[in-house]
């Protein structure tokens, strides 16, 4: 290009009044011509320059989130909620995959050994979300827990959000695997209410104890109950209607206690 910009052309370019072809030609010239860049610089409003620079910095510097965070954003979770969830170890894809794999093996065993296998699957299925919730927050599970405690964001809200996300990410694969491999029998979903009851109970207990310890304690209690009712032959007594009503009661009472004592979690 042999021509140079004059004042009028520089003003029209700075104001965004040039058509795309001429603007592209000017930009190609500006890359190689310090004289014209010097002519243009005073014409561009400072505020516009800052705004453009901010947009470039935002696009370049903002990190590309991890796969789980991207997935959450894809299903409509807001970016800051997605970041708070992605920080939880038990919401990493490795943990979710491991939980699903354990349940897959349990279901495959259930297919081979009929009733013992089914009891095994129903006993294990609630443990996966309980363990996940126990490792989703708290001093032992969240490296930045102490920093978070001194921040204004509600610790109770973080705890509930992560617990809900863990329940969804562990319950969905369990339901899908169970129904797909064991058939359309509602017994396959009999672990769901126990899972809710154990999870909510461990959340209530975490007011006083480390969440991971609470999860361990309620899991041991649960497995002891299963073992006690299956000493001689495989039994689904823990999943009877009366049992399910009991789990529902525990879930509701724990929920009420959580809401009533929410301030104590912060």
């Amino acid at each position: 290009m042999t021509w140079h910009m004059d004042g009028g052309l520089a003003t029209r370019y700075a104001d965004g009044d040039l058509d795309a072809t001429l603007a592209a030609s000017v930009e190609a010239h500006l890359l190689a011509c310090a004289q014209c860049r010097g002519l243009l610089a005073p014409q561009v409003p400072r505020a516009r320059l800052d705004r453009v620079w901010d947009e470039i910095a935002e696009a370049v510097d903002s990190p590309v989130p991890g796969p789980f965070e991207r997935l959450l954003r894809l299903v409509g979770v807001r970016d800051h909620t997605a970041r708070l969830l992605a920080a939880a170890y038990s919401l990493h894809l490795s943990w979710i995959s491991a939980g699903a794999l354990v349940l897959l093996f349990a279901v495959l065993a259930a297919r081979e050994t009929t009733r013992w296998g089914l009891v095994g699957f129903l006993a294990l299925a609630p443990i996966v979300p309980v363990a996940g919730v126990g490792l989703a927050y708290g001093r032992g599970a969240d490296p930045a827990y102490e920093i978070g405690l001194a921040a204004p964001y509600s610790a109770f809200k973080v705890m509930l959000m992560r617990a809900a996300a863990v329940l969804v990410t562990s319950a969905l694969p369990a339901l899908v695997i169970g129904f797909a491999l064991l058939g359309q029998n509602w017994t396959v979903a009999a672990w769901l209410l126990p899972a809710l009851a154990l999870t909510s109970l461990s959340l209530v207990l975490s007011r006083w104890f480390e969440p991971a310890h609470c999860a361990l304690a309620v899991s041991i209690l649960w497995l002891a109950g299963i073992a006690g009712t299956n000493l001689r032959e495989p039994s689904l007594a823990m999943f009877s209607t009366v049992g399910q009503l009991g789990y529902l009661t525990i879930t509701v009472v724990s929920g009420v206690l959580l809401v009533a004592r929410r301030k104590e979690f912060s």
Binding site: D54, A57, E58, D61, S62, P63, P65, G66, D79, H80, R83, L84, A87, H92, D142, P143, A144, Y145, E146, I147, G148, L149, A150, A151, P152, Y153, V158, S266
Partner: protein, 281 residues
């Protein structure tokens, strides 16, 4: 005054009193907290950070009562714990962004601008895209400082930020902390007496959960005037052989010793007496 503490008590269990009627005040500038292990420094910092609640006494932080206005205080507070944990899989940017979210910065663009600002303030812009697990210990500490600066807090609490750092990193931190303290209240808990002498406008020495001294580093140093000796013989309350082969003694003069100008460290050791010996092992 940004921090006013009166008669503060905190116990762990029935017999272990971490704080035992502590009173002190702190205003704009760097305020040092000195004391041996177990003197109650970390407990005090955690109380000021509203992470713990006291058993007794009163606190006013930034003119507010933490018992009833905790969230309002937390919005104006920056806190670097003694052992800050980091999500090591996060990059520097992601981690600081994570803390910014916990500080209720909901607007993404404004939050990211603030994250970039604090990362730049601690000189980590070049590594902001690096995973935290790939950073050195000193750089991780700077990430910790960066998150504490989010939202231009008026009160910054730093618990042993220079522990375990090499001399170059410590100098860098001194420069950084002095800059932070230019227009806000910084409470710096430390074992490093040199840091206090170099940085702090005021210093509080904790002993057995109480304030044993409150004043300027120069006033602290003056406590040891007339009590610091150099001589051929060992003596006094505390005594150690220097690099020149003579004994530096604090307290009662050993025979033939001559009086020398004290340092802040001499005064600190004189103040703590037996506690200093226990802390030194």
């Amino acid at each position: 005054m940004s921090v006013v503490v009166e008669g503060l008590t905190k116990a762990y269990g029935r017999s272990s009193h971490a704080l035992n009627g502590l009173s002190f005040t702190a205003g704009v500038g760097v305020n040092g907290l000195l004391g041996p292990n177990g003197a109650g420094k970390t407990t005090l910092i955690r109380l000021l950070a509203t992470v713990l609640t006291p058993d007794g006494g009163t606190m006013r932080l930034l003119g507010r009562d933490p018992a009833t206005e905790r969230s309002a205080i937390r919005r104006r507070l920056g806190y670097l714990p003694q052992e800050p944990g980091y999500h090591r899989g996060f990059t520097v940017f992601e981690f600081v962004d994570y803390v910014a979210i916990l500080k209720e910065m909901a607007d993404r663009r404004a939050r990211h601008d603030e994250v970039r600002r604090v990362i730049d303030a601690v000189g980590l812009t070049d590594v902001s895209g690096k995973k935290i697990r790939a950073l050195s210990g000193g750089m991780r500490r700077r990430v910790g400082i960066a998150q504490a600066l989010l939202g231009e807090p008026e009160l910054v609490l730093l618990d042993e930020p220079t522990a375990g750092l090499d001399p170059e990193e410590r100098l860098r931190f001194r420069e950084l902390i002095s800059r932070i303290g230019e227009n806000r209240t910084v409470i710096l808990s430390t074992h490093q007496i040199e840091d206090v002498a170099a940085l702090c406008a005021r210093v509080v020495v904790l002993k057995d959960g109480r304030s044993a001294f409150e004043g300027t580093p120069e006033e602290l140093r003056a406590l040891a005037k007339g009590h610091t000796w150099l001589g051929e013989k060992k003596g006094g309350l505390l005594s150690w052989r220097t690099g020149e082969g003579v004994f530096r003694s604090i307290g009662v003069p050993p025979e033939g010793a001559r009086l020398v100008e004290p340092t802040v460290e001499d005064a600190y050791l004189l103040l703590l007496g037996e506690a200093a010996l226990v802390a030194a092992g």
